[in-house]
Point group: C2
Chain length 201, copies 2
DNA sequence: CCGTTTCTGGACACACTGTCTATGATCGTC
DNA sequence: GACGATCATAGACAGTGTGTCCAGAAACGG
């Protein structure tokens, strides 16, 4: 087995990936046919089926690639035992998304009947859970809220803001600024953002 | 034009709606065909097309029905000028979702390429924005965070938790308890949930 | 350069779609 | 309970996209 893929395969797969993503963003996943994809990628239809079983397999391949990269990045950021709350992991996700905004938009919009969305949610949620666990351990306290729920909530918030950010017209607000806002919300709560620091009632 | 729909139409449409939702939850939207739907609903295939243009139209109809109901409910809860933060609107959404959990699960999972998800996000987000605006006005402060972003984040958080709640094995945790947790997170921030009240960075 | 791998168009059976028509069943109403 | 209006239905139809196969052409890496 060769280490590096045949150039033709590489080119073909890349073209198919790009074609899928851009067509889905344009028309929606359901409205995209394999024939559309091969036409956009300028590839023979028979060729498609030598690489992927069907449209779904190509979609899953794209999602898996993105998640694989993301996991590797997050692993690096999380390496130093970091019970503080620097927002590093969040920033890393935003940076990654900025590098391939289209794929992220496809996933976050829920294209593909939300399969990519759920996969991203799981991957991100696992990281979130680890962060919260470390924090609880470091503070030696009993968590006030079930950590699974907390992780879900946190991830849901971030994914929503990430999608908003990716869909915003360019030039987008600076990554650091958005991340800083998210961290502040986690730190002080949402009421802080619309009123006084200590809220009566 | 008659006020009440013909009984036959009502029955047929209801059966189609239920069939779509349960099939989608079982196999995923893309894997469900019109033939499957009419078989499950025990309706002739020709009949389907007298009511809906295609599968997508049926899906949109279901989503629109849910959102319509939700809007009416939220309007009632929001009627009293309520700048406090009672969590009433959130509780109302959870109650509504508990009444038709399957439709909500279909939507929140992102089935239908996320179209329902986006529609729900918009409806809910509008309400959220109104709530935050009222609060900012009541406190006569300049919001620290763009209210659109804030609304997005809030809604994202709640939708994530709602889905978790709906997918949880029965008996589900009590609505009030989950809502109370969400309100607390908004009030004090997420760090509070995993540590001490005043957190040193 | 040569053996291997990939690409390709065209043909095929198949599943599902969306439309139409004629007939029978069920409705609301008087 | 009878009647006109509306709805449900089976079956036929052409059309579109799918997934598989093949044999020849092209591009690859060593």
């Amino acid at each position: 087995m060769t280490v590096v893929e045949d150039r033709r395969s590489r080119r073909t797969r890349g073209a198919l990936r790009d074609a899928l993503v851009s067509l889905v963003l344009e028309r929606g996943y359901a409205a995209v046919t394999v024939e559309d994809i091969v036409a956009a990628a300028d590839v023979g239809r028979a060729t498609f089926y030598t690489h992927f079983k069907d449209k779904e397999a190509l979609y899953d391949h794209v999602v898996a690639s993105v998640l694989q990269e993301l996991k590797e990045r997050l692993a690096q950021v999380l390496a130093p035992e970091d019970a503080g709350f620097t927002g590093q992991p969040v920033a890393e996700v935003f940076r990654h998304a900025a590098e391939q905004p289209d794929a992220y938009r496809m996933i976050l919009r829920g294209e593909g009947d939300g399969r990519g969305l759920r996969a991203l949610e799981d991957a991100w949620g696992t990281t979130a859970h680890e962060i919260f666990s470390a924090r609880v351990k470091a503070n030696a306290v009993r968590p006030r809220v079930d950590l699974q729920v907390l992780a879900r909530a946190w991830v849901g918030e971030q994914m929503a803001v990430l999608l908003w950010w990716l869909e915003a017209p360019e030039p987008r607000p600076a990554t650091d600024q958005v991340v800083e806002t998210l961290v502040e919300l986690s730190r002080r709560g949402r009421l802080w953002a619309t009123g006084f620091d200590s809220d009566p009632r």
